[in-house]
Subunit: 350 residues, 2 copies
């Protein structure tokens, strides 16, 4: 009889459903039941060791007791889930063999038993010395693909157009801006700190950037950077920034509705959007999208963006938290803009 290691499996548990903005105390890090490091025979599952976990704003939607969305809520008392990068330890699925690296939805825990049929966008990752492994959760993962699909498929960009990106140093925004620059656009980003504004201008190649927290009048700020108006607004925040952008769109402008991470848009005391009327005389199109509708161009995305990265044409900024213990703070930090760049949690070394 073979000997199987049995370990305590550290987990990040959702304690209860959350209203509004999640806080660290909505989650708990604890050693769960012990787990055999083995995929049970006949289960068609495979056991992975989680290496990196991705923190994404959409996860807030799964922390609510709301079943009408495109993703089901998390289960209180159970580990939360999200995109992760993991190594196969044992497998009862002939398609996965120990030692392989995979990227897909996994549990926020040290070890997860996965089933390929349940996993969205599960894919195998080839080691490539030129690319940090964690980038498969950001630049080459859902965030990067959101930027790519949103910019090319929703924004219909043309060379020379003016592009505004909010949350511009974030996981999605930083790639949108760089793709827009490569496309020959004039690109301005907004962010919430001087450090982020510096990164946008000096590291990410944006033409201009501003700290929205220092602007008393967002409309005036946009008019300063876009005296002739905005062709494309890639909206990651909603709220008052979207409202101000609506006042500054050019005729036939396009707004990609990508996410509304702003505290304002999470709050029930929100003022709402008051300037949507402007979309009529300006013939503006606003379109919500999910990257998952564009999986058919994922291979093209990987090829293009890997290529740009290896040629030094784009860079990517990550914010790495070390250890599952810091995972709740990392996730919660997204909603106050604590992260600088793509927020990732390292669970274990490769």
């Amino acid at each position: 009889m073979e000997e199987v290691a049995v370990v305590g499996n550290k987990k990040v548990i959702l304690k209860n459903y959350v209203d509004g903005i999640p806080t660290e105390t909505d989650m708990e890090v604890k050693i769960g039941d012990t787990i055999e490091l083995k995929a049970p025979k006949g289960s068609s599952c495979f056991l992975v060791k989680n290496l990196y976990l991705s923190c994404d704003p959409y996860m807030r939607g799964r922390m609510r007791d709301f079943h009408g969305s495109y993703l089901p809520p998390f289960l209180p008392g159970q580990p939360i889930e999200g995109f992760g990068l993991a190594k196969v330890i044992d497998s009862d699925d002939p398609n996965y063999t120990p030692g392989e690296l995979i990227c897909g939805i996994t549990g926020w825990e040290e070890y997860s038993l996965l089933r390929s049929s349940n996993e969205l966008q599960l894919r195998k990752i080839q080691l490539d010395d030129a690319i940090p492994l964690s980038y498969h959760l950001g630049l080459l993962g859902m965030a990067g693909f959101t930027a790519y699909a949103g910019f090319y498929e929703i924004c219909s960009p043309r060379k020379g157009e003016s592009v505004f990106v909010s949350a511009a140093s974030g996981a999605v925004g930083q790639l949108v801006g760089q793709l827009a620059k490569l496309h020959g656009c004039y690109v301005v980003g907004s962010a919430g700190s001087k450090q982020k504004v510096d990164l946008l201008k000096n590291k990410l190649g944006f033409d201009e950037a501003f700290n929205y927290k220092e602007e008393a009048d967002l409309d005036a700020a946009l008019k300063r950077y876009f005296p002739d108006g905005i062709n494309i607004y890639f909206d990651n925040v909603g709220g008052s920034m979207l409202d101000a952008a609506l006042l500054n769109m050019k005729v036939r402008g396009r707004i990609a509705l990508c996410g509304m991470v702003s505290l304002q848009s999470l709050s029930s005391s929100s003022q709402g959007i008051n300037n949507l009327y402007n979309a009529i005389p300006k013939r503006v199109r606003l379109e919500g999208f999910l990257q998952s509708d564009y999986v058919h161009i994922f291979p093209q995305f990987l090829e293009h963006v890997k290529g740009y990265y290896k040629e030094g044409k784009i860079v990517y900024i990550e914010d790495m938290s070390e250890g599952l213990e810091l995972a709740p703070a990392a996730l919660v930090g997204l909603f106050s803009g604590k992260n600088v760049g793509k927020q990732v949690v390292r669970v274990a070394n490769e």
Copy 2:
């Protein structure tokens, strides 16, 4: 020397720029300076007798002291302007001869001196016994064309889809609903009185209709008529109806932003739109449009809609006010929904 008639020219004057909702007292009907019923030699103008004037919600935009829009404001002390149907009385323009009927932007007055180069969408009208002359301002005019261009070019309708139309018995809405029915869609309209709801169901062929003033919860009303959601929302009102529709869109739904005539959307105390977030998980597209961008399909529109009308496949409801004296009340009435169907003013008999 030929003898030229000289008459007093009754006019509807804008007294002052208007904030918010226009009232009758913002306008004045008076006999202006006398006018020679003649187009001055060398002027390249032609003189018309105005027969019918169109009352349209967009005119409110021209009553404000705001120069940033797609149309310039009216001039206080001068007659307001709008689409009209008129007969040429005299002409110094070789392209227009006395007796011809034209449709285009004219003054709210008995006689107007027009110049073809200044006129948007000026066109000649052929008498057709089967079609009331005033329909060239509604069914076959800007309102009808707005419905046609908006429905086919913005909504991308497919047979079997579910369509919601607000202000559904109005100049635009009544044609949108009928075109949608001819396209094989399920169509529900909202309006602001029992009489209008009856017209929608019994005369205009809508599948269902409801009086929004009797609904305490618009979201619940829409869920009642669209238990599986809305594919297409043709929005003529903005405000809380748009907000409720955003909660009920199906995946990849389309919202044509056509006009926001609701009192709410004119008011600075508006709550704003709070449900735009829903456009992301549902991948909803909202698009503002102006009929004037689609003039290339105007001939096709005329052919189709004239044909449908003559075949008895569509009807059109007009609300006719008699005489320039009633024109201010007719225009103002649009903003409280007094009109039943397309609001027109008869200035003179044909």
